[in-house]
């Protein structure tokens, strides 16, 4: 496998690893990619790892004896081990591959939820959740008559920890919340929220879709029961996500999807489930994608998640500072010290869609809309926002281009 170049400590050179970042957009302007919270770009080494699997070892896994099947199985299970290590899991049995973070959360709602939640039981979410951590529970609430309680979001864009205490007094069965908001950028005090939830007797699920790409996340340190994330937001491919689950909990859960690989034995009218983690992986998995995610984890580890974090903080701070100077621009959420690399804002008199469109003309790729967090937008009484999000390959210069282009938007439409 072609390795990614070893990280030199200089983030300016990192951009070279990402083929997409060197293109121009339709207007002819150079691309400035500020939409990594939607999906990150992929380094060459991740694409090569998948290509190598397809071109050399492509085979179905687990059941095969021939050379290709053994190579493919080894590559797949080896990726699982590295991913388990990356998140601090005790064992690779605790790493279940899904399509994305969304499916991981749904798996918990269907399997753990339907086994453990009954009418009147309380599930705690927050007002800043992505739809992925709302809708599965709404479906379950409707079906099982469970109650949803929401940790409110303060005007500053933080979770209201006092209200949380009151909700915990209701003895909820589950507390499921986002580690980092994909709109406000807020990094929630996950360790504290989890330890308080545990003290109240609740099981915990952490939506790490935004946090894991950006800073060190260790399930052992956080003491999380379940954790969900997506490969495509952390330099990995589409089509693969992860559910981490504490082994004892996963063991007690009924299977979710049925089919090949998740079974030990099948009779016409019954089956015996396979051991962990296979019990939750039905049918042919996303083999190439898991191998790609393994390479992504190696790539990020090569940089060092502490370095990734520091670079993210630095650039976010700079962005907040220069955006703050625009009087007609209003940032949602807390100060730079409490957030990751996401900045969502509104412009006086200009709709976010128009902002995004005109920015695209200048090559700046941002997202406009509700970012799959409609209730949060409702909380702040805005139908939509424009969101710039930063990752390892972004620089001060990218922020400067953004600001220049925003001025133009204001002049044109404001």
């Amino acid at each position: 496998m072609k390795d990614c170049k070893q990280f030199t400590g200089d983030f300016d050179t990192l951009k070279a690893e990402f083929p997409t970042l060197w293109r121009k957009v339709s207007s002819g302007a150079d691309l400035v990619y500020l939409d990594s919270a939607a999906t990150s770009q992929k380094p060459d080494c991740v694409l090569q790892a998948m290509d190598e699997y397809y071109r050399l070892s492509n085979a179905n896994i687990h059941r095969g004896i021939h050379t290709l099947a053994e190579e493919a199985t080894a590559a797949y299970e080896n990726a699982r081990k590295r991913i388990a290590a990356f998140i601090g899991a005790a064992s690779s049995k605790e790493v279940v591959f899904t399509r994305n973070a969304t499916e991981a959360i749904n798996l918990i709602a269907y399997s753990w939820g339907r086994k453990n939640l009954n009418a009147g039981d309380i599930v705690v979410l927050s007002e800043m959740e992505h739809h992925a951590n709302l809708v599965p529970w709404q479906i379950l609430a409707e079906e099982r008559d469970i109650r949803l309680e929401f940790i409110p979001v303060t005007a500053e864009g933080l979770l209201d920890m006092e209200s949380y205490q009151e909700i915990l007094a209701l003895e909820p069965k589950l507390v499921s919340f986002t580690h980092m908001s994909n709109v406000l950028g807020t990094i929630n005090p996950a360790k504290e929220i989890i330890s308080q939830a545990k003290a109240a007797g609740a099981v915990t699920l952490l939506d790490a879709a935004q946090s894991l790409p950006h800073f060190p996340v260790d399930v052992a340190d956080l003491d999380a029961d379940f954790l969900a994330f997506s490969g495509h937001k952390m330099c990995g491919p589409t089509g693969v996500g992860v559910l981490y689950g504490r082994e004892a909990l996963l063991r007690d859960m009924p299977p979710f999807l049925g089919g090949g690989d998740m079974i030990r034995k099948v009779y016409l009218r019954s089956f015996v489930s396979n051991e962990l983690p296979y019990k939750f992986e039905a049918g042919t998995g996303a083999i190439a994608e898991v191998i790609g995610l393994g390479a992504a984890v190696d790539f990020l580890s090569g940089i060092g998640m502490d370095n990734v974090d520091a670079h993210g903080r630095e650039i976010t701070q700079y962005a907040m500072q220069v955006l703050d100077e625009l009087p007609w621009l209003h940032i949602l959420g807390p100060g730079a010290d409490k957030r990751g690399g996401v900045v969502a804002f509104t412009l006086d008199g200009v709709h976010p869609h128009d902002v995004a469109q005109i920015l695209d003309w200048d090559g700046v790729a941002v997202r406009a809309g509700h970012h799959c967090a409609m209730p949060l937008h409702e909380r702040f009484s805005v139908p939509a926002t424009t969101r710039a999000s930063f990752y390892i390959y972004n620089s001060h210069n990218d922020v400067d281009v953004l600001v220049e282009s925003l001025r133009k938007v204001k002049k044109m439409l404001g």
């Binding site: 509700h370 044109m412 439409l413």
Partner: protein
């Protein structure tokens, strides 16, 4: 971009001619573009022969959907309800005089979707224009 935000669109977004609500009305409908939350309501008054005499739009949205609403209403006043039911995507794009990618197309077409749903008396607007 110069194409997309031509003077007419910027102008109609800034100072629409047909903004408002009509109460009472003969037809009214409201719908949202779920992608972005653009929300348009269109109220229509007709005469006994089924011709549109007055119309107005309200709600919020991007410059494209606002200008499209305003221009669409301008074009339907004086037309028969049956003729408006037959209006197509191309008619709206002709009014705007621009080309659009798939996402922004939804913005431009939202008012047509809304007015047709209103005239057909549908429970929900559909994407099949």
């Amino acid at each position: 971009m110069d194409d997309l935000y031509r003077e007419l669109i910027i102008e109609r977004n800034r100072s629409p001619h047909f903004r408002g609500e009509l109460e009472p009305n003969d037809y009214t409908f409201q719908d949202e573009n779920p992608l972005c939350g653009d929300n348009i309501r269109i109220d229509v008054r007709t005469d006994d022969a089924g011709f549109i005499t007055e119309a107005a739009f309200s709600g919020h949205g991007c410059a494209i959907s606002q200008a499209s609403s305003d221009l669409l209403i301008e074009s339907v006043i004086g037309k028969s309800v049956e003729d408006v039911k037959k209006m197509t995507k191309e008619d709206v794009l002709d009014l705007l005089g621009i080309e659009l990618g798939p996402v922004r197309l939804k913005c431009a077409l939202l008012p047509l979707k809304v007015i047709k749903a209103g005239l057909y008396g549908m429970g929900e607007a559909t994407d099949t224009l």
